[in-house]
């Protein structure tokens, strides 16, 4: 059963499971058929969204140029350098990111310091911003000509490994932070107490009990950072300098020489490790879980109120918080001045350009397409979760895997795959069976392909939120409804759906945030006539028009926050009535389920 969450936490059933319970409950043939049909429809949709693009990559990668670029990764000096750079970046981001996320999570759960809620908010803020928001801000702060660089005369040589590591950590630590909070909160307190009563000091307890129990979560966090930095194109472009990584080579092959074969070769070099890590982790996490971390916390979590560790960890957390504040202050203020740090004249021109000028198109397009993709992704994700947990164990497992591919396949790879697969039309016997979906000349100006990408990238969050929420739902609750005369549809509508509503809401929230901020997969298929915000920001940054870029960032963050606010208000009103603590808890951290 694929309900284990990435952080190794096992969703505990709401109530004690009955004996002799078997997954596939007695059901009529007819219902079997309906669920099978639904499953097949979803499978076909997902296959269309994945198999064609990924297949195209394989097709091009095995051309002469593709094979050459793939083998060059191992045979040429430059290729090996690319590979090593990519691995070094991934590992560094993995280690530092995990450390930062764990620090913030540990402080949030275990240490009593003032301003914790602000720290929590600051730790979550990057989720709603585009991946290179931090990079842009760091350039302004500590870049070659940055504010601090000039003020203190210290150049940290930001461009390259340093800058990419810093901005990737800042961009992706919230997801891991939420994961680790969940784990820390669910550590069985009696284990801590047992360690203490056996004579462990608080420090040796941390080393010998807390850390080993957290290992699955920490490894998951490392891999999450690793894969995200592997897949990220935004930061290498903005702040990568001459430190070339694989994702950037894919992009350069396409943009400088339009050499799709070479690009596909490099993309394959990204896809294989990305999917492998995903599969290994999925297997590993599914295997070890329940033994260490129980779902029911026994008693209140002990909070550290005194001592050296509190001062040190608290200070470190404040430093991280201060960095986040500095970064977002630059973003916010940057939109209101000509060129922050250089020409600090107040101006509304940037916002005027974004909201009332040429810059409005990307804002409008991105928002509308994200609002279309979010419900789609949520519904598909939940259906997959429901099917794979309650009905079709084996086919469901395959569906679940397909659904998760949207996150397992690096964004750059998906992007190039879409450009290759949907950048031309398909004809059978002279009849066009599939028109151009992406890039110039596509139907609906290519918006369809964008919605598809937004959707497949958002499905995993809804899927994981749905999975944990449905798995926590004692199946006897649904059986009780059946027993009282409800058809399977009535059971779904009157019992299952209301109970997993929080998961739906958070899945939708995350889908909107994810769609609005996505960059790497869409840059290959956007055109001058069809920009999305993140690509528009990248264009402005390339042209050194930071004011407009920051204005875009602020507007984007604002839109996402408004969307989340609306969903939360709606959800809050509902949950007051519903309010199942366990379900809410699981559902409120959808990202945590995503690799």
């Amino acid at each position: 059963m694929s309900v284990k969450t990435t952080n190794g936490q096992s969703p505990a059933p709401l109530t004690a499971p009955g004996p002799e319970r078997h997954g596939r409950s007695g059901q009529s043939r007819q219902r079997m058929q309906v669920t099978t049909v639904v499953a097949l429809v979803i499978a076909v949709l997902l296959a269309f969204s994945f198999v064609l693009p990924i297949g195209s990559i394989f097709g091009h990668a095995f051309s002469a140029a593709g094979v050459a670029s793939l083998t060059s990764l191992f045979t040429t000096t430059y290729g090996r350098e690319l590979l090593i750079h990519t691995l070094v970046l991934g590992s560094l981001v993995g280690l530092i990111g995990t450390a930062v996320a764990f620090l913030m999570a540990y402080v949030h759960v275990r240490i009593k310091i003032p301003g914790k809620r602000i720290l929590h908010f600051l730790s979550l803020l990057p989720v709603v911003s585009p991946p290179f928001a931090a990079a842009m801000s760091l350039i302004i702060l500590v870049g070659t000509n940055g504010i601090f660089t000039r003020t203190f005369g210290i150049d940290i040589h930001l461009y390259g490994l340093t800058g990419m590591t810093a901005s990737l950590v800042l961009a992706f630590f919230p997801v891991s932070y939420i994961n680790l909070i969940g784990m820390l909160q669910h550590l069985d307190r009696s284990l801590d107490e047992a360690a203490l009563s056996l004579g462990a000091t608080p420090f040796s307890r941390f080393i010998k009990v807390t850390l080993p129990l957290m290992m699955p979560g920490l490894v998951a966090s490392f891999l999450l950072f690793f894969v995200e930095s592997l897949a990220d194109l935004a930061n290498p472009l903005v702040i990568g300098g001459s430190y070339d990584v694989l994702a950037k080579s894919v992009y350069q092959a396409v943009t400088t020489t339009a050499d799709f074969d070479t690009a596909a070769g490099y993309a394959l070099g990204l896809l294989i490790p990305g999917v492998l890590i995903f599969l290994i982790q999925r297997h590993w996490v599914t295997k070890r879980d329940v033994a260490s971390v129980t779902g029911k916390p026994a008693g209140e979590i002990e909070v550290i109120k005194h001592g050296k560790s509190r001062v040190i960890l608290g200070a470190l957390a404040y430093i991280i918080g201060a960095i986040v504040i500095a970064v977002y202050l630059v973003i916010f203020l940057g939109g209101f001045v000509q060129y922050i740090g250089v020409d600090n004249t107040f101006t509304l021109a940037n916002f005027h350009y974004v909201l009332f000028g040429v810059g409005l198109q990307p804002v409008r397009t991105t928002t509308i397409l994200a609002l279309i993709a979010a419900p789609l992704a949520t519904v598909i994700g939940l259906l997959i979760a429901w099917l794979s947990i309650r009905h079709l164990r084996r086919l469901g497992g395959i569906l679940d895997l397909l659904g998760m591919l949207g996150i397992a396949a690096p964004g750059v790879v998906i992007g190039i795959g879409y450009a290759l697969a949907f950048g031309h039309s398909y004809s059978v016997g002279g009849h066009e069976v599939l028109p151009i979906l992406a890039t110039g000349g596509a139907v609906l100006g290519g918006q369809l392909a964008l919605v598809m990408i937004f959707t497949v990238r958002s499905i995993p969050a809804a899927l994981r939120a749905g999975s944990s929420s449905i798995a926590q739902l004692d199946s006897s609750i649904e059986e009780a409804a059946t027993d009282l005369g409800a058809t399977s549809f009535q059971t779904w509508r009157k019992v299952t759906l209301p109970l997993i509503r929080p998961a739906i809401m958070s899945g939708a929230t995350y889908a909107i945030a994810r769609s609005m901020t996505t960059f790497s997969p869409v840059i290959f298929i956007t055109t001058a006539n069809l920009l999305v915000i993140s690509v528009a920001i990248n264009n402005e940054v390339s042209a050194a028009r930071y004011g407009i870029a920051f204005a875009y960032c602020s507007i984007l963050i604002l839109i996402v926050l408004i969307a989340i606010g609306i969903i939360n208000i709606f959800n809050g009103r509902r949950s007051k009535k519903t309010g199942n603590a366990t379900i809410m808890l699981a559902a409120n951290r959808p990202e945590s389920e995503v690799l």
């Binding site: 109530t15 009955g18 004996p19 002799e20 078997h22 007695g26 009780a480």
Partner: protein
């Protein structure tokens, strides 16, 4: 008090205009097929093996057995949550084997209660009635009645989470009985309650079931529950029915060593059967010739096992004339207030004896190492074939 009872019983008859019906299982079997060997029907575990059972209308029958004996699977087949591999299920004259769970005239009370957490107590109880599209008034009346019956008068607006375990249990019961089912099923409904509440709910469930006149099938692994609640008990083992009988039959006249051993505490003493006449076997126990009631399968000359319940053993002052075989030593004693339980070391092996405070014979609590004389009350014993023969 008298008056209250009268009102309640009138109300309850209104509640139960659905009418109870008999339930019969014919050769019911369930094989769980291993997912990885779905093509081979022979692979997998036979969870329920050819169970045949007739429950009379209004009867309270308990399925009792160790975990994994197939009792829950049997119940889930009756409810319609599992499809039988073979056999039929009838309610009254109607074959419901192929009827989906939501169309069966059967309600179930779940082990976990399975109350809908997003609905209030009132809405929980009304859930099934609303699906039946009854009129608003009819629903209101019936829910109100069920809540009153279950002593939940002012709890209707609460969320199930705000209730205590016992109250949640009552809501589950109200929700099931408001449907006026022909048969009510109970899946270990008391296992999540503490001991005192469990005893209280036992009698409450039984009272409500009697007043409604509903047919009930109750699953438990707790023999005290089975003994105190049931009209008849079905002891199950390894998917098969081991014995069906009244609590007294099951306790005093088990048909196998397994049943005798599973129900209550039991001493088994290996004996040689000398002769049998009129259902009484002549055997030697502790050097004494006694006549013990015997299972018909036991034949003269057999090796057999004598079931001696702890209370069928009497302790007396040891006398010098006692043959050594009747003398035994107290290994430990447990004082229960009303009775004392002794673990004894005897020539035939360890024995358990219960001496109730009011009984004749030895008084006071004997301590470890004390020497006592032992006597068997022949009329309270039961001779069974050795388990090899019984199988």
């Amino acid at each position: 008090m008298e008056q209250t009872m009268g009102v309640e019983s009138r109300d309850l008859s209104e509640l139960n205009n659905g009418g109870a019906a008999s339930l019969s299982l014919r050769g019911l079997s369930k094989r769980f097929v291993d997912e990885h060997a779905a093509h081979n029907q022979q692979v997998g575990t036979l969870a329920v093996d050819n169970v045949t059972l007739d429950v009379v209308a209004g009867e309270f029958v308990t399925l009792l057995g160790p975990s994994g004996c197939g009792k829950t699977t049997t119940l889930r087949m009756i409810a319609g949550f599992e499809t039988p591999t073979a056999g039929t299920i009838h309610v009254g004259d109607r074959d419901i084997t192929q009827v989906p769970a939501n169309k069966r005239p059967i309600s179930m009370v779940f082990q976990s209660y399975a109350l809908f957490p997003h609905l209030s107590v009132w809405e929980n109880v009304a859930f099934g009635l609303r699906l039946k599209r009854l009129s608003r008034r009819a629903i209101g009346d019936r829910v109100e009645l069920a809540l009153v019956t279950m002593n939940l008068m002012n709890q209707g607006n609460k969320s199930p989470r705000q209730l205590s375990g016992g109250q949640q249990q009552r809501v589950a019961l109200a929700r099931a009985m408001v449907m006026q089912p022909a048969v009510m099923l109970f899946d270990e409904p008391l296992s999540n309650l503490d001991a005192k509440l469990r005893a209280q709910m036992r009698s409450e469930i039984r009272t409500v079931q009697r007043r409604l006149g509903t047919t009930a099938v109750f699953v438990t692994h707790d023999q005290a529950e089975a003994m105190t609640m049931s009209d008849r008990i079905v002891v199950m083992n390894g998917g098969k029915v081991a014995q069906i009988g009244t609590p007294e039959q099951i306790y005093m006249r088990p048909n196998s060593v397994f049943v005798g051993d599973f129900i209550g505490q039991a001493n088994f003493i290996d004996v040689d059967v000398i002769s049998i006449a009129d259902g009484m076997a002549e055997i030697t126990v502790f050097d004494e010739l006694i006549a013990a009631p015997t299972h018909p399968a036991v034949k003269p000359g057999d090796k057999a096992r004598l079931l001696v319940r702890p209370e069928a053993l009497a302790l007396e002052e040891p006398t010098d004339s006692d043959s050594p075989i009747r003398r035994c030593t107290v290994v430990s004693s447990t004082y229960f207030g009303g009775s004392v339980e002794y673990d004894l070391d005897s020539a035939v092996g360890p024995l358990v004896a219960t001496v109730s405070a009011g009984s004749e014979g030895l008084m006071g609590v004997l301590h470890r190492g004390a020497e006592v004389g032992l006597k068997v009350r022949p009329s309270q014993t039961w001779l069974l074939p050795s388990s090899e023969r019984a199988e």
